[in-house]
Amino acid sequence: MVGWRTRLGDGLLRTWAGLVLLYLFLPIFVVVAFSFNDPEGKFNFVWKGFSFEAWTDPFKYPALVDAFEVSLRVALISTAIAVVLGSAIAIALVRYRWRTSKLVDLLLVLPLTTPEVVLGSSLLTLFLNLDQPLGFATIVIAHVAFQVSFVTLTVKARLRGFDWTLEDAAMDLGANPRRTFLRVTLPLMLPGIVAAAMLSFALSMDDFIITYFVSGSEVTYPIFVYGAQRTELPPQINVLATVILLVSLLGIGASYLLQRLRTRQAAV
């Protein structure tokens, strides 16, 4: 029997959850909507009129395109490095019992709990003291530094339920350690590594604060938006953001469907 108080409570909960979700999406709607705006003057803050103009001419601002390219390159390189470094640590932490593992655990958490201004500014002081010029390389270095912790955490979480005796089984059947790793361990770890890679990539693409401190004259996509906010904020930025959003949605949708397909196949 469900009393009226429980039903009221449920109703309130449902409404609250709905409102919070709406709150989360309100700015997203605004960003997407304003890609269809015909802006008044240089800044895209006030709605003037509906227009497809930005969508028909999305590459109008070469600086924006260049900045996006830089962000992509940084993200690809840093993700590649971070995934290798982080996965290795994750394997070490989960598969083995070793004395300094607790310390490593703690050390890995520290970058995650440091504010970005501190991460960025401390790296800046390092580069200043070493007379290292700021640019693409320093951005990649900075990104890898904060990505490693995320990768390790993600892969570790996925490795938790891993049945390591499968490796023993493979070796009992004659596979040497290298073959076991390539044919048994790695494929089973792959979903976790892919998830970590996607997370790292997204973090790198969106990073502003740390990048801002160490980028020198190099301009990434978020830095472009930051600078553009003062000079000219064309709707093309919104167009790009909407496209990224859609691509990410498709990506997530695709991986979700793939997962369901795989489990269905496995059940058969």
Binding site: V20, L21, V144, W164, F208, Y212
Partner: protein, 310 residues
């Protein structure tokens, strides 16, 4: 102690669920030097590009710039005055940052806990969809999201108009360039960081405990207060840290949504480093911010154990 059954079952139920590996050796291979080799590259990178910078930050904060702004020459001279100067000049900003971050964290908790609860217990098949929705806003760069808030709470916008008729506007008859706008922005940007950890710890609660509570005549509210809330505390702590820490150091929200009276420590550090280029002072500010937060985090790690953090 009579038979092992009763106390064991209780212990089993009270323990957080763990996926059972087929043959359960709790993965404790000795491995010798292998784990050290595996973790070496990553830890070296972290060592050089995370820990060493903290050292250079400390060194810079105790230095003096004997060169010019454009050709800096930093000499380490145990210049403690950098720290006192920092507090004299920017003490207000420090306090303000921690205050804003605290309010935003509480707001995120109030907004986010019911959402996490709903997704964990009431969403059924929609669970993954809703989680995806919570994460989705992250795919629009947070600069744009914060700029969108600037449009939403613009002086001549609908929201401000509505609040005006309700008489609910704070003193200056506007929302932009007030503390509320900045706090609102901070709450918004870090809300998912609060929702997700709480969801994770709610998920782990064994459903049998809730059944047991119901069998013992507890109604919804009672169960919430005595069973769910205490068991979700690790998630609440994690979410609070993940919200408070970045919020305290943020400068974008203050820059876009606030005015000169809403400057936070992050803005100050950014200006000192990038514009004014007073590296020693800036480093001192940054170092103090980090030290304060680090102390809090280490205290938390001691209390809860790092196992629960990851």
């Amino acid at each position: 102690m009579t038979g092992p059954t009763s106390s064991e079952t209780v212990a089993e139920v009270m323990e957080p669920k763990r996926p059972a590996a087929l043959h359960a050796p709790e993965v404790g291979r000795r491995g010798g030097v292998v784990p050290y080799l595996l973790s070496l590259p990553g830890m070296v990178w972290l060592g050089v590009f995370f820990f060493v910078p903290l050292v250079t930050l400390a060194i810079t904060s105790l230095s003096v710039n004997t060169g010019s702004v454009y050709v800096p020459s930093l000499q380490m001279r145990w210049e403690w005055s950098n720290f006192t100067d920092a507090f004299d000049a920017y003490g207000t900003e420090f306090l303000r940052s921690f205050w804003y971050a605290a309010v935003a964290t509480v707001a995120a908790l109030v907004l986010g806990y019911p959402l996490a609860y709903f997704i964990a217990f009431r969403a059924g098949r929609l669970k993954h969809l809703l989680l995806g929705l919570v994460i989705l806003p992250f795919f629009v760069t947070f600069l744009l999201r914060t700029l969108a808030w600037k449009t939403i709470v613009a002086d001549d916008g609908t929201i401000v108009g509505m609040l005006e008729t309700l008489g609910a506007l704070p003193s200056e008859d506007r929302l932009l360039s007030t503390s509320w706008a900045v706090i609102g922005g901070l709450t918004y940007n870090f809300l998912p960081f609060m929702v997700l950890p709480i969801y994770v710890s709610l998920e782990k609660i064994d459903a049998r405990l809730l059944d047991a509570a119901r069998d013992l005549y507890a109604d919804g509210l009672h169960t919430l207060r005595r069973v769910v809330l205490p068991l979700s505390l690790p998630g609440v702590f994690a979410g609070s840290l993940l919200t408070f820490i970045p919020a305290a150091g943020d400068f974008i929200n203050a820059q876009y949504l606030g005015g000169p009276n809403q400057q936070m420590v992050g803005n100050v550090i950014q200006t000192e480093f990038i514009t004014i280029k007073d590296y020693p002072l800036a480093a001192a500010l940054s170092f103090v911010l980090m030290a304060l937060i680090l102390l809090g985090v280490l205290a938390y790690a001691k209390v809860l154990g790092t196992e629960d953090l990851t």
